[in-house]
Subunit: 200 residues, 2 copies
């Protein structure tokens, strides 16, 4: 069989679990019990692996956290970058970021859930918060451009509007059900219709 996941940047290893599989179980445990309360021993038990088998794939619990937060942040920053690379109006670029963010959240729900809980207790968490802040600033700048262009539904502080729009999007981590009846693209349409004069 061909490995169809050649684009996968994470290391593969022991049959049964590759780094990605371990990461998924770790993120679920972090979200359920909190990062601090989760030990490599607990993960080993959940995975049915020895601790040393886990350490074959990742150096530490901290590295698992870093990989998980990268997964969320790389997605969001990718959505921002592809929007910034297009040549449309500010409204079109903002629409592209918002839609992209909805798709990242629905696709990587546990990773973004973890990101949104980060409070800056460790070096890894502080680095993630810094990337989140840079993302927020870039979105607020796009909101300001869209407002100046006359494309925004409201004439309020762009930072506040950006936070409210991402309040809607981030709430997906609280209630979105991937098995539910509303597909991600339709959710994005609804959010864009609320945000912008001309649905994009």
């Amino acid at each position: 069989m061909t490995d169809t996941r050649t684009a996968e940047p994470l290391r593969r290893g022991r049959p049964g679990y590759d780094q990605r599989g371990i990461l998924e179980v770790a993120v679920a445990a972090f979200n359920e019990h909190g990062y601090d309360a989760t030990s490599i021993g607990m993960l080993a038990e959940r995975l049915g692996l020895s601790k040393s088998a886990i350490y074959h794939h990742v150096a530490s619990k901290d590295e698992l956290l870093a990989l998980a937060l990268d997964e969320a942040l790389d997605g969001l920053e990718g959505a921002l970058r592809s929007a910034e690379e297009t040549t449309g109006t500010a409204a079109e670029r903002l629409a592209q970021v918002l839609r992209g963010a909805v798709l990242v959240l629905t696709d990587r729900l546990p990773y973004v859930t973890l990101l949104l809980r980060v409070r800056g207790n460790t070096e890894v968490e502080r680095a993630a918060l810094q990337r989140r802040r840079a993302f927020d600033h870039a979105v607020a700048a796009l909101v300001a451009e869209a407002r100046d262009e006359g494309s925004l539904r409201v004439d309020a502080d762009p930072g506040v509007v950006a936070r409210l729009l991402f309040g809607m999007i981030n709430s997906l981590t609280e209630w979105y059900d991937p098995a539910g009846p509303v597909p991600p693209d339709e959710l994005a349409d609804t959010i864009l219709a609320l945000a912008l004069r001309t649905p994009a």
Copy 2:
């Protein structure tokens, strides 16, 4: 001096701290460390009181949680009730609920923050979740009425729209700064402008 807080439903007691003062410190600790990780001993230390002085005001940690969640839920349910008692259009009633919820959140930020973290681990938490669900259903029903009336900006599932609107409002617990430049009424205006055809 006249006690201007005669409407205050909570018990008063030992000079220095009444039940309300203990509750405020408890809610801050619950939000900071988590409910499970907070003990009456920790609260006693923060308050500079003995544990038995605390037990003079409240029967248990569980009662503190119940009082705190009531504070948030009573506020939200009050906003809903006064909207439902008016005779305006669905859009006007929805606007009143949304504005009322913004005012409750900004006024009782730590209490609502605690409410939003409740996951149903105890009887008190499950009762609070049930009240929250009833509130959400009532808001979704108002959204449906507003949609049928043609007042909504979007023609999407009322449950989804209600969740997105409260995603915006609830995000205030993540970023709203009571000392910041945006007054609660202006925030409510922005959220209403995003939600409804005619800002109310």
